[in-house]
Amino acid sequence: MSKKKLVMIGNGMAGVRTVEEILKLAPEAFQITIFGHESHPNYNRIQLSTVLQGDTTVEDIIMNSWEWYKENEIELFTGEAIVAIDTNKKEVISDKGRIVAYDELIIATGSSSFILPIPGADKQGVTGFRDIQDCETMIKSSKLYKKAAVIGGGLLGLEAARGLLNLGMEVDVIHLMPDLMERQLDSTASKMLKDELEAQGMNFIMEKQTAEIIGEDRVTGLRFTDGTEIEADLVVMAVGIRSNTSVAKESGIYVNRGIVVNDFMETSVPNIFAVGECAEHRELVYGLVAPLYEQGKVLAATLCGVETKPYEGSIVGTGLKVSGVDLFSAGEIEDDKHTKSIKVHNEFDGVYKKIVIRDNRISGIVLYGDTKDSSRLFKMLVNKEDVSGMTSVSILESGCCGGAAGSNDIASMADDEIVCGCNGVSKGTIVQAIQTKELTSVDEVGACTNAGRSCGRCKSQIADILAYTLGDKFKEADKKIALCGCTTLSRDEVVAEIKEKGLTSVKEVMNVLGWQQEEGCTKCRPAVNYYLGMIHQDQYKDDRDSRLVNEKMHANIQKDGTYSVIPRMYGGVTSAEDLKKIAEVAEKYDVPLVKLTGGQRIGLYGIKKEDLPAVWEDLGMDSGYAYGKTLRTVKTCVGAKFCRYGTQDSMGLGIELEKKFERLDTPHKVKMGVSACPRNCAEAGIKDFGVVGIDGGWEIYVAGNGGTDLRAGDLFATVKTKEEVIELIGAFMQYYRETANYLERTSKWVERVGLDHVKEFLADEKTRKALNERLDKTLLKYNEPWSEAIEKKEIQEKYYQKREVPVLV
């Protein structure tokens, strides 16, 4: 039996979820083709706010990778829009002229930002907030411009505004109404929200209507209907969304505000269905994923011929994804003659709760500052539970100040209580998945049940359920992501807290972030010291005593407590004079071993700690940092200066690289190699950065490793000049410094974040320039450590002396 042809227009959240449901029910039933106007695979649109706020990357919000489509044999056309449906021939036609026949057709075209039809709306610098491209426009503008205006003080507008603040812009939010988010909040909650956001740095211009966008080609400001003006060089319109219905309408499908569907998502034309924000069901068009996913489930069942309850509409609850703001709202928010409401307003703690009760049933919820009760109350609202027998205290279980959430709350939760509102996943489903599939992390729960994969608000509750279900086993699993046993915070959390709270010393980090062992351990102290230095660039005063022995002593400790001394020999090139000095020192201090190291230089091994400063002084050479989490050596081949095959000056470039990057703190050690032709005598293919000269240019390899896990470097780019080599390596190095975990070599880092991602990120010249600027600023702070020790008596006394105690017998 040949498969039925299923075509879908739109490659977004609702549509692809429907396809996922279909694949679960009847994996072999359809031959599926999807058209998506955007050039990405399906991503989590909800998280665009988080991307804009800098807390995650576009890469991380992809929900269905290209491989997913391949594995499921879905034919995917991205960057291609459907322009017409021939409902008689049962074909769709794309803007590239492609014609594809269908047996069943799903329209899942979502919606677009509503752009106010005012003069100037088409100027450069005016954008909506709907897709990755809008996000990129904003991020780009933030690097060039300073003043942003967001029109619309609803959910989207405020999330955009918060993002723009994080991007370093000044932000005005213009709102037509006297209250922000007036559809979700009453004026008390709205006022609290406004105060909080003002404290975060947003500026509000209330009760103003924009009449015109002014400027030449690019926007320079806004004019309001009352004639007043403000300056702005970026305008974000967040005044609402419009369903994408034109293709359906022009093809004769019945469209009102959205494409009208019945309880089985069928449109007015046979074999054509609609789902998501483009669909109108019982006169409602939804703009949140939870109801759209319910629609998707019903549609999938309908298409697969599986019996299903009809879709009868949804009640939705909303939150706001802005850090520092905790709010939830559902149902009706204003009182009238027939409602009685419970209101608790604790101004001291900034908590406000309002439960609207109509006919003994909860009909509306507004929670601000403490949303722990949200899922329980929301369930009562949806189930229309009779509350006449309850007291206000039992309705508002967590009281007016909010108790601590934790396992107790989880224990008292009913199994059918919904944890993830977006995906309709109950506590029972999650517990069962954890137990039967041996899950140990929030991400794994998401992969199995979909919980947490949309807005992410429920993730902390999922973590609580994991803790409750697994007990001690969860703690073990948990430790893997925490920095170390002294804290529960992960690397990213620690870095974010340092930035957010402006923490400036190891001690302060451990104090403020509640370290369990007050002064940390050998895992976290060096790591935190590194992160502080990376974040504060030239302003941070390194905490030498948070470094482990080798870096603290600027020499490598050996098994008997003596040290090795390995001076710089830039690019592996030396001179008779230096060789003589090394020989003299070896003799004078009776050095037990003189050896060529694996890094093209000479090591003196077995030196007593108290002799180190004198040895350094006699050598008069710089530290080779053979002990540091920093640039080690740059191996070079002899190259064009002598070799008959050489195409480039490999020694010259090697020396230049070593001089530029030496001493820089990096997450782990970094090694480089430069060869002058592809014979690659400097083994550049197994270095963190390997450069290979070719006729007329250089190849740059990255993330090679010759150590524990052998890994060949990946070709990153081919460039013409050595200046380009240095610029690219600088940008790559700084990006690695800013995002890698402490003690993560470039090889592991690249495997974790993906080479393509790094390539894409560094493709932008401005990004590279900014990275190099931060790098160069950091490089300014270093002093040569051996000469510092020679010059400073305090350092010698503190670290290198051994005191003889005369004992009288």
Binding site: E519, G520, C521, D545, V549, K559, Q801, R803, V805, V807
Partner: protein, 102 residues
């Protein structure tokens, strides 16, 4: 039992071990963040040996710089999962001077 004078208190830097050679025996003094001074033998309890003076100090513990064992500076005990014990010397001190008791 005798008190042997080692050094003046003010010569001891915080959290960085100071080595004293005493009749062929090596003793490390650690001045902790809380101001107290502790004395231990400068020998890692790890079977392969090594020194302790350059270890990282956290609270009342020192981490062996060579094998990363965590050692209590109060009773010399190696913390789990490792096992062992380092010799501890009682410290006496008046306002300015630090002695060990032998």
């Amino acid at each position: 039992m005798t008190n042997i004078y080692l050094t003046d208190y003010e010569t001891l830097p915080e959290k960085v071990g100071q080595v004293f050679q005493l009749n062929g025996e090596e003793i490390v003094l650690f001045r902790l963040t809380n101001g107290e001074v502790r004395a231990i033998e400068n020998r890692s309890p790890h079977p392969k040996g090594g020194t302790l003076s350059e270890g990282l100090v956290s609270g009342e513990y020192v981490f062996c710089p060579v094998y990363d064992w965590k050692i209590s500076l109060i009773d010399g005990k190696v913390q789990a999962p490792d096992e062992g014990k380092v010799k501890i010397y009682p410290v006496e001190r008046d306002k300015e001077q630090v002695f060990i008791v032998k």
